[in-house]
Amino acid sequence: MKFGVIRFPGSCDDVDALLACRRVGEAVILWHADRDLQDVDCVVVPGGFSYGDYLRVGAIARFAPVMEEVAEFAHAGGLVLGICNGFQVLCEAGLLPGALLPNTSLRFIFRQVELEVVTQSSPFTGRCDPDQQLSIPVKHTTGRYYAPDDQLARMEAAEQVLLRYAPGQNPNGSLNDIAGVCNEQRNVFGLMPHPEHAVDPLTGPTGGLPIFESIRAHVTDGALV
């Protein structure tokens, strides 16, 4: 299968995402100013500080030419994974519900956190062992997930919350310990933790790998959602 990792000016974890994707498939860089998605099966909107995160995180990146294509791609059912800043961009773009607010600590925080897989029924968690916590690092200043109560209730009911911080691990004050959510169609997924930084035993725990493997499995074996 083929991943496409978007590169905005100010993307930082784009190469990391590329390397992680290449552990399970092909992967190419998609330049923010180009509209060509190069027939990828999954678009990754990576972490970093697109456009410096000025004004509001993700606020300016969402208007990049490539993002129009990503929106179409998503509406047509294509898989889109947003990591950290990518999650923020997808929320700003309206491809995912909710918004991300400053950490309650008001500080940037890097920490290895334990995540609970809420459900396997998504293209992004199909290969995650539900009884296995994932150890993945978070690194952000603006990761407090927020959605209005009624919307949150609908999301929980529809199992749109795919990942939660394990009890006592919530690093940023996210509502309901939410670490990652998908859209109603379940083909767009955003999370604050960085799975691409948890795929290589040489550099740390490998809790991120199952997420990339789930995507590959979904695309290649057409594993059921």
Binding site: L55, R56, A59, A99, L106, P148, G173
Partner: protein
């Protein structure tokens, strides 16, 4: 529309952006906590938001700018203040 205004003297405008009521505002809380320590008592309901100042040729487009770029309707309310006073507020339905 903007074209119609090319050459017009631009208006200095301000957009005041604040967190929507009811959403936790740790920045405001931090300020509220810090003040007494410095000997400033009697301060309440502190909220921290954003100020955007700009010269705009066509002020009529400001609300649109606010809704599309300058604010996030889900989490923020805004108020537009032109050099000559308040001329519009926006509290988008969440």
């Amino acid at each position: 529309m903007a074209d119609a205004h090319e050459g017009l003297a631009p208006v200095r405008a301000r957009v005041l952006v604040k967190p929507k009521a009811g959403i936790l505002d740790p920045q405001g809380q931090a300020v509220e906590r810090a003040l007494p320590a410095l000997g400033f008592s009697g301060v309440r309901n502190v909220h921290v938001g954003r100020l955007i100042e700009l010269d705009v040729e066509d002020p009529a487009r400001l609300p649109e700018m606010c809704q599309r770029l300058l604010t996030n309707p889900l989490i923020e309310d805004y108020e537009i203040v032109e050099a000559d006073g308040v001329n519009g507020a926006g509290s988008h339905p969440a």
